[in-house]
Amino acid sequence: MTPSAAIVATLEAAADVTAIVGTRIYSIDAPDDPVAPYVVFQQIGANPGASHDGPTGATERMFQFACFASTAKGARALRDAVSAALDGVEIGNGDIPTLEDEREFEADEAAGIYRADADFSV
């Protein structure tokens, strides 16, 4: 199971997450005119392990989770639910995500959307 598939499975099984977004958990990008609230996640970096005799097979990856909602409070609540579902929890491929960073953004007033991010190392 790939890390991305394991992440999706974990979030879809998290009641606190699905209570907010249902199945609106998107990898890489959201569909056109997405319905808020929703989550978009993507891998933003990787650090493959290397030894003198070749790759170790242990790669540390960074994932960014962008949580969108119509209010700032809603975006934070969604981010917190995603963090609780992943931080320190073993996912389907055996990895254990670790929360690394959290950020909040100014509202996109034209779209009427707020965003709160969480970064995880997996």
């Binding site: 290397a50 030894s51 003198h52 005799d53 170790t56 540390e60 670790t98």
Partner: protein, 141 residues
């Protein structure tokens, strides 16, 4: 001037002479060919040269090798190192083969003087080992 990458260095460890068992998953390390004993100050009262005269006492420490390994307790090579650290038999031999085109190497009787396992919250399981020569190593280039 030739330049060589450091990736591809090989560490071998076992009781056979020469050792042939390659230790897998070897990470960053350092090979020390031995520290020489401090020189003696043999300066006379003549200071006309303005510099101290020294005499090499002729001794140096044997070679040593420190490295991290991506630790797998089930790996036979890793277990041999751990066991040698716990209960050395005095017949263990180590060999370092450099990744240059001529495969320069040093080998000899060794002991494992340190075996530590750092356990950070994140990252791969590793072991930091120190291998010390028990006598002058044999250098081949």
């Amino acid at each position: 001037m030739a330049k060589f990458k450091t990736k591809g260095l090989v560490f071998k460890f076992e009781t056979a002479s020469p050792p042939t068992v390659v230790i897998a998953q070897l990470g960053d390390g350092e090979l020390n060919l031995g520290e020489r004993e401090g020189a003696l100050d043999v300066t006379t009262h003549d200071n006309s040269t303005g510099e101290i005269d020294k005499l090499d006492v002729g001794f140096k420490e044997p070679w040593s090798f420190t490295a991290e390994i991506f630790f797998d307790p089930a790996n036979t090579g890793h277990e041999a190192i751990r066991a040698a650290h716990a209960s050395p038999e005095g017949t263990e031999r180590g060999m370092i083969v450099l990744p240059d085109t001529g495969s320069a190497q040093i080998t000899g009787l060794v002991r494992i003087t340190s075996f530590t396992v750092p356990v950070p919250v994140k990252g791969a399981l590793k072991a930091n080992i120190t291998v010390e020569g028990m006598a002058a190593g044999t250098w081949t280039q």
